[in-house]
């Protein structure tokens, strides 16, 4: 019973943190973009504009809702939910920290669910997000959203392939699909006597490919053809307003957060602290959040620094560069492991 209560509390805290982090990320995006462009950014609501996400949320609630007339009303309402739910669910297997406590002999671990097939779970669930986007584009009964949804779907499935192959190379190295064990496997020895054995040092090519794939997977800037305001107005969410639009937005930011956490887990040793193997769980949690936040900053930094690709360049990059490289990477990994 105590274990069940502790689990419930843990799940609630992680969900609350995810939603808050998504809100804070929207503010960070606007603040950092403002600094990059020598502006001030939001600074009216609360000290330094810190309450801006809350104000935005309330405003979304009270905005008029638009549902296009026609037969696809149900799908139109369903699509934002289908985009947001998988993005929020995929956080379940991320091991934020090590063992927090032990109740009646049952360890309380730093993830929602310590699944043995965690890597498969996160690939499967985060892949479901594409349904919400393509369905939203189709159900809008408008041309721009349809094109945006199709582009997003083609882009996401193209880069998902390379991403899965890269994850599998890491899985083959670690010998497990459990994300907590993958993170732990990077911390039980050192390279050359001083470097922590993080996969970023063992698999540098995979790391670079993976980070770029996460940009394409979450439809972030150099690859944001789903929105592409200069060509498609707002892309798949052109016709969406009110909280349904906000759900797409929350889903996108949650997906970014999960991808940042996944990169941390797979390549940067998860919650480990270099040279301090016995760090208590809250130090590990701080270390994890720091690493993941660095990737979130990278997401924002890149968005406001680079120009957008052209769509055919994007598809060529995915199929002609990333897929062969990912296959080569898994081949070399297998070869080294077998020898």
């Amino acid at each position: 019973m105590t274990v069940l209560l502790a689990t419930l509390l843990k799940v609630l805290v992680i969900f609350g943190c995810l939603i808050s982090a998504a809100g804070i990320s929207t503010l960070a995006e606007r603040k950092i973009s403002a600094w990059i462009q020598l502006r001030r950014g939001p600074n009216r609501v609360g000290p330094f504009g810190l309450l801006q996400p809350l104000a935005d949320g309330i405003k979304f609630m009270f905005k008029e809702e638009f549902v296009p007339p026609g037969k696809s009303r149900f799908l139109f309402i369903l699509a934002p939910a289908l985009a947001a739910v998988p993005a929020m669910m995929s956080v379940a297997v991320i091991p934020f920290t090590g063992r927090i406590a032990e109740i009646d002999g049952t360890p309380i671990l730093g993830s929602v669910a310590d699944l043995d097939m965690g890597a498969i779970f996160i690939m499967a669930v985060s892949g479901l997000g594409v349904y919400g986007i393509i369905l939203g584009g189709w159900a809008s009964n408008s041309k721009y959203p349809l094109l945006g949804g199709l582009r997003a779907a083609a882009q996401m499935i193209s880069y998902e392939l390379s991403m899965i192959l890269i994850i599998l190379a890491i899985v083959a190295m670690s010998g497990t699909l459990n994300l907590r064990e993958i993170a732990d496997a990077q911390n039980d020895h050192t390279l050359l006597g001083f470097l922590p054995a993080w996969n970023v040092f063992l698999q540098p090519l995979a790391f670079v490919l993976f980070v770029i794939c996460t940009f394409a997977e979450t439809n972030r800037h150099p690859f944001d053809f789903a929105e592409c305001e200069s060509e498609l107005v707002g892309g798949f969410h052109t016709e969406y307003s009110s909280m349904k639009f906000a759900l797409f937005f929350i889903g996108e930011y949650c997906a970014m957060i999960v991808m940042a956490c996944l990169t941390t887990t797979l390549f940067l040793g998860g919650a480990s602290v270099p040279f301090w193997a016995e760090a208590p769980w809250f130090i590990g949690l701080g270390s994890f959040v720091f690493k993941a936040a660095a990737f979130m900053f990278l997401f924002i930094w890149v968005r406001w620094s680079l120009p957008r690709f052209r769509y055919d360049q994007l598809m060529a990059l995915g199929w002609k560069v990333f897929l062969p490289l990912a296959i080569t990477n898994i081949f070399i990994t297998g070869l080294v492991l077998a020898l």
Binding site: L4, T7, L8, V11, F15, I19, F60, M61, F62, K63, E64, E65, P68, P69, I77, P80, A81, A84, M88, M89, A92, V112, D114, L115, W138, S140, N141, S142, K143, Y144, L146, L150, A154, I157, S158, E160, L161, I164, L165, L168, V171, A172, G175, L177, V233, T238, K244, L247, Y311, D312, M315, A316, W319, L323, P324, I327, G334, L335, L337, A338
Partner: protein
């Protein structure tokens, strides 16, 4: 005794509850004042001349088919990746790797064929 899946379903309940709650709440709280102009699809102020469900480029279909092909490849590789270490420990590592390489080589050949045939060119 809660298994990991208990926590997973608790999270699913919270997430679905949150999504339904905010959707319904914004529906109840927001104002509604519809008219024919507002209901028309957005096309930068132009009147819509044709229905939105136009024919789409065949490239999207080709990408989807290729994705299924290579995704199934990845699916088989999951089995190998998860058990590679165990095979190596049992001394069958080289044999299993040779088999997997043959499988991947066939699909790499398929990718080369599609590439040669121009299936990956977007602007044709």
């Amino acid at each position: 005794m809660p298994t990991p899946y208990t926590a997973l379903f608790i999270l699913l309940g919270i997430v679905v509850g949150f999504v339904v709650l905010v959707t319904v709440a914004s529906n109840l709280l927001g104002r509604k004042r519809q008219n024919a102009e507002k209901d028309s699809p957005y096309e930068c102020g132009m009147d819509s001349e044709s229905p939105a469900r136009v024919r789409i480029s065949i490239h999207f279909y080709l990408v989807a088919v290729l994705f299924i092909l290579f995704d199934v490849e990845a699916l088989f590789l999951i089995l190998w990746a998860g058990s590679a270490e165990a095979f190596n420990a049992a001394g069958h590592g080289a044999l299993v790797f040779a088999e997997v390489s043959a499988f991947v080589a066939v699909l790499a050949l398929a990718l080369a064929y599609v590439w040669r045939k121009g299936g990956l060119e977007w602007d044709r």
